[in-house]
């Protein structure tokens, strides 16, 4: 490899972490080396200028999310890092089969708990975790969904430990977002860095809209030949509005708001210039609680009065189904390896982060013995509330956590601190390692299809493990290599 004087990788050190670019993999097809070489040829100065131009492009395109503070709304871009993350064909094979397996298990689990409840009767998952869960919807009991699919769109958050092992951090089975960035990042990459991509044999990402539409048509109520699919959005002030636009454009279907729909004679209609037109599948990007003010939150203005009734009478299909939140809950997450085994008779292809369930004696004892080494999480909370990170906690905080654990063990799980993998990222000091995760997207109608790659979110702050866009996270283009050789390389 040719080293130029301003080789941007000159002082790149990934430290104790697994590096997604520089760690050697047998089937990497030489792609990482070529990327490094090409980045060196471009040189730091040009790289920065082109990265800045790429971000301006995103602003002009309005590929933004809205951050609200006080009375002002600011459109912000998800910072784009121009150094791609590369997954090899073998790595992707594991991720793809693992995600499919997980989606199959989630759907089987949802079908079971809303019908025969065998998994509870067999004592595999505790009854109160399911039926006492705020996201459990009695409205779903004994309600049939086509192909047994509840989770039509699933986003699985995956991290990689210091040994390079993939671990599932979380399932997102409600309305996962981020897929638009996967496709837009690739478009941006090919516009702004065609020389970086030249000759690379990558799995394409632009089939997502067609696959999604296909699935939405498959799940439409039986007997409908040419179903009308719509995407239901909270509207232009929602922070994910760009993604809603993206998806409706990619599918070629109307983006509707609640007020565009109405229910009459047990059917769902949209209001058009030529009067009412029937609607058959609704890909909804609003939460269960807001779907129908006559059933859930009466103060919701986003939904459609009567929608749930029409759905229950089979006039329309909702994707994702109502009540999937019970399956992607933290409490259920801990049981996912057992859930997979129970329904599919298989071990998880993508393991969970090692999780200790404190309602079980061994789990509690294990946790109490090494509190200072573990992350302790309450099961009912989200958004990082109530979490104690052992290695960073004070004596007093650890004692408080200990007392809480003993008082109510079943409210807690514990996990080891994971050393997330890193990838070379362009930051102010140069190219530096930054932690990242991966969210592949799976689409399920009759069968499951996984978009090659997924959203790689990167924590731009040094040492930070928080990849969320609202907290200084950015994203990378995620390349999945095919089995072919890279062109022009021996």
């Amino acid at each position: 490899m040719q080293i130029t004087p301003d080789d941007p990788f000159r002082d790149y050190k990934s430290g104790p972490y697994f590096c997604e670019l520089t760690h050697e993999r047998a089937d990497d097809r030489g792609a990482p080396a070529i990327v490094k070489q090409r980045l060196a040829a471009i040189g730091m100065e040009t790289l920065r200028a082109r990265a800045a131009a790429a971000e301006t492009d995103l602003i002009n395109l309005g590929i933004t999310f809205t951050v609200y503070s006080d009375s002002t709304a600011i459109d912000r871009i998800l910072p784009f890092d121009c150094i791609p993350r590369i997954l090899t064909a073998a790595e992707w094979h594991q991720l793809e089969t693992g995600v499919k397996q997980r989606v199959a298990a989630l759907n089987a689990f949802l079908h079971d708990i809303y019908h025969d409840r065998k998994i509870v009767k067999d004592g595999v998952v505790p009854a109160d975790l399911v039926f006492g869960n705020a996201n459990y919807r009695p409205e779903m009991e004994n309600f049939p969904v086509r192909f047994g699919t509840y989770v039509h769109i699933c986003g699985t958050d995956i991290v990689r430990d210091a040994a390079g092992k993939f671990l599932v951090l979380e399932d997102n089975a409600r309305t996962p977002s981020g897929v638009s960035y996967v496709v837009e990042n690739r478009h941006l990459m090919s516009r702004a860095f065609p020389d970086l991509m030249a000759g690379m044999k990558l799995r394409p990402v632009d089939d997502y809209g067609r696959r999604l539409l296909e699935a939405m048509c498959e799940i439409a109520p039986e007997g409908v030949d040419d179903p009308q699919v719509v995407l239901l959005s909270p509207g232009i002030y929602n922070s994910a509005y760009f993604e809603h636009v993206f998806l409706s454009r990619e599918m070629g279907v109307p983006l509707v708001e609640g007020a565009d729909l109405m229910v009459e004679n047990d059917r769902v209609w949209m209001r058009t210039t030529g009067g009412r037109r029937p609607v058959h599948t609704i890909y909804r990007r609003i939460g269960d609680d807001f779907l129908d003010p006559t059933v859930f939150r009466p103060d919701s203005l986003l939904g459609v009065p009567g929608l749930i009734g029409a759905w229950r009478r089979g006039a329309v299909t909702l994707a994702n189904a109502v009540g999937t939140g019970v399956a992607d809950d933290k409490a259920i997450y801990a049981y996912m390896p057992r859930i997979i085994k129970y329904y599919l008779g298989e071990d998880a292809i993508l393991p969970n982060v090692e999780t200790h369930i404190c309602r079980e004696k061994e789990g509690l004892d294990f946790t109490l013995d090494r509190l200072e080494k573990l992350v302790i999480k309450p099961v009912g909370e989200s958004g990082g509330y109530g979490i104690t990170i052992g290695p960073r906690a004070s004596r007093a905080q650890l004692e408080t956590a200990r007392a809480a654990l003993i008082a109510d063990p079943s409210n807690w799980i514990s996990q080891p601190v994971i050393s997330l993998s890193v990838a070379p990222t362009l930051v102010e000091d140069g190219i530096r390692p930054r932690h990242l995760d991966l969210r592949p997207f799976a689409v399920t109608g009759r069968d499951t299809w996984v978009l090659p790659g997924g959203l790689s979110r990167v924590a731009l702050k040094e040492g930070s493990l928080i990849v969320n866009s609202s907290q200084g996270g950015g994203s990378k283009d995620t390349w999945v290599l095919t089995d072919e050789m890279v062109e022009g390389v021996a």
Binding site: P254, T272, G274
Partner: protein
């Protein structure tokens, strides 16, 4: 594999209004440009206040405690984001409509409008004075014209295109009546031959602002009178900004919606169009001038408002939830006239 896809009523309404707001911006730039050329030394404030009057913005202007100086009027229309009839609010409204329309408009349309909006938000006091003002007006006109060109070249020709075109034609017709009206508010401090020349200069200015100066010269006789200018701008069948041509376009769009898409509900609107046309061509220009041009233009503006209301009732209203119909009427007033 073609199939006629339905158009959400909300999209139709947004297309109609996006086109109107942008047409408004272009015409406001034309009005401001012409006002500057009318500025007669010592009477600048009066010239500029004419703008306030033809837009019926006296109350809005006074509410801010502004005194009618040239600077205050320019600021009011060009950089005050809170003035609902100003450039900034119109661009903001156009962009919000475009954001709503992202699923149906082309990416190129969206990007241009997004960038244009951002650039115009950066307008400062410094852009409003001296030779900068005319350049600012050119940038505004060109921004809208770029939008129009991109739209012509990239926007899918389904129902939406018809609503977009109607919005633009209605606004353009309305703005032409305001441009004509500006003469009414301008004083000519002269008499005899000097007065005749001063008036002709003003009419030439109006023609230039409407981009019709050369076209008019080609069709007018050597000894033209002010009445000929008025007739040209109101009724010429070939001039793209004449009121009659705009009305004819509206009729074409309405008929197209009925013929091609089987949309009912065009009847009442078509009747309004008929009335408008009769009013424009059924009376001689001399009679119109004798009865008072200002009065006549007021009538055309009122008819255009009623026409827009008929279109709204026929195609847009349905999407609103019943509980909001009261509020909807108010909302429709917000996205309405400068008058």
């Amino acid at each position: 594999m073609s199939r006629d896809t339905p158009l959400l009523a909300r999209y139709a309404e947004s297309l109609f209004w996006m086109a109107r707001y942008l047409e408004r911006v272009e015409n406001l730039a034309r009005l401001i440009d012409v006002t500057q050329t009318f500025e007669s030394p010592g009477h600048e404030a009066e010239s500029w206040f004419a703008l306030i009057r033809i837009n019926a913005d006296e109350a809005e202007f006074a509410k801010r405690g502004l005194v009618p100086t040239a600077e205050a009027v320019r600021r009011f229309y060009l950089i005050d984001p809170a003035n609902p009839t100003g450039v900034i609010a119109s661009l903001e409204a156009a962009r919000i409509n475009a954001r709503t329309l992202r699923p149906v408009i082309s990416t190129e349309m969206w990007v241009q409008l997004n960038v244009f909006h951002r650039e115009m938000l950066a307008t400062t006091e410094d852009d409003l004075s001296g030779d900068h003002l005319s350049r600012l007006c050119s940038r505004l006109k060109e921004g809208v014209q770029t939008h129009t060109g991109i739209t012509e070249g990239t926007f899918f020709r389904d129902q939406g295109w018809f609503f977009y075109q109607m919005g633009r034609a209605i606004e353009r017709a309305d703005q032409m009546t305001r441009l004509l009206d500006i003469r009414y508010h301008l004083l000519v401090r002269a008499a005899g031959e000097e007065r005749r020349i001063a008036e002709l200069t003003q009419w030439n200015g109006v023609l230039r602002a409407a981009a019709g100066y050369h076209a008019f010269r080609r069709v007018a006789s050597a000894g033209f009178k002010p009445a000929d200018v008025v007739q040209f701008l109101l009724t010429d069948r070939s001039f793209p900004r004449s009121v009659a041509l705009c009305v004819e376009q509206i009729e074409t769009q309405l008929s197209g919606l009925r013929r091609r898409y089987g949309l009912r509900g065009t009847v009442a609107a078509l009747e309004r169009v008929e009335e408008l046309r009769a009013g424009l061509v059924g009376r001689s220009i001399d009679k119109i001038l004798a009865d008072g041009l200002h009065h006549f233009l007021d009538g055309v503006q009122r008819d255009l408002i009623l026409l827009a209301a008929e279109i709204g009732t026929a195609f847009f209203r349905d999407w609103r939830p019943l509980a909001e119909t009261g509020a909807a009427t108010e909302a429709s007033q917000v996205q309405t006239q400068t008058a």
